[in-house]
Assembly symmetry: C2
Homo-oligomer: 188 residues x 2
Amino acid sequence: MPHRQQRVDAVRNRARIMAAARGQITLHGPDVGMNAIAAAAGVAVGTLYRNFPTKADLVGAVVNEHVEEMVLDVEATVARVEGGAPALAEIQGVTTRFVESSADNHAVKAAAQQLGAADYGPLEQRAFAAVGRLVSLARDAGVLRPDASSEDFTMLLTTAPTDQPPATRARWLTLFLDGMTAGARGPA
Amino acid sequence: MPHRQQRVDAVRNRARIMAAARGQITLHGPDVGMNAIAAAAGVAVGTLYRNFPTKADLVGAVVNEHVEEMVLDVEATVARVEGGAPALAEIQGVTTRFVESSADNHAVKAAAQQLGAADYGPLEQRAFAAVGRLVSLARDAGVLRPDASSEDFTMLLTTAPTDQPPATRARWLTLFLDGMTAGARGPA
DNA sequence: ACAGAAGATGAACTAACGCTCATCTTCATC
DNA sequence: GATGAAGATGAGCGTTAGTTCATCTTCTGT
């Protein structure tokens, strides 16, 4: 073992920084200052930069956590549908959960934006794979329009309105999902 | 006449500033610096501030121009439909024009955002009136879902994807409009 | 308990931005 | 032309936000 073990206070500080960054970005968006995050973590700015060379790295780490949450949710949904759960209801479920969580969560919003961007990391590929499986399951069940694609749902995630009142958000989802089901064969 | 006539160079500079601001904001978004706009106008920053007390005033002036264009387009569309033009095709037309113009035009994007905000100026009221007329005409013609509202179209303008490739934008509009026509009675 | 490396600190640096104002220039008037 | 007010100029102010680094502290291995 060439390297000495990492110090316990360093581990603790990194955890505090991630927690504070998550909280601050969730609350105030990715534009919060590094000083604010450092203060919330009970740590000096320099410690932030020891763990994350630039602000983009820190924000990216937080965003990645949320992307992972979203991916896990979609994968769980796929599993339920494969187990016999009604596809359309499950799709309404995930999309609603997503839109609601991104409503007053600026970190999730940023995460969605990143999914729209085309820098394909391994996590993004997992996301696309899961969404793809969900779409083809639902399409085969006849509850989506025949030409429905996973890109359609990526679009949904990217363009979902986040700064609108709850009633508007719900209406938006209704319209979009009705568009996704227009011309569907209908379930057996 | 109490006031002396405005100087010709002052008039010329104001026009140059508006043109430069329009161009720069269209190109780089509302976050361009005042120095950049001044340079593009061939004028010093001080001259910008003589014509527009704050940056918000300048950006607001540019955005207002675009809002007005959009309003005129909708009003013309209403007139055509009232004259017997097919309602659904006309609606597809305006919305397509809007999405396309906001695609690589950051000023129009900002204009749409402002329409979504709730500070009702006289221009905004004209916009809502025109959209309202268009929706009720189309609904009465049976080409929109019975519960279609003008808020639905405001939402469309606000959430339209602007940073996506043309094919994605077109697909988005298709889905949204199919959602708007789902459950429609159908034209006579 | 000690040495030394890993880590933490926060004042200060840099860059960008909106905005001001003392000074100079240019046009309208007579 | 001459005059003076309207207008133009641009260096610089105040602020904010990301980043650095010389210095001090704390933990780990022996």
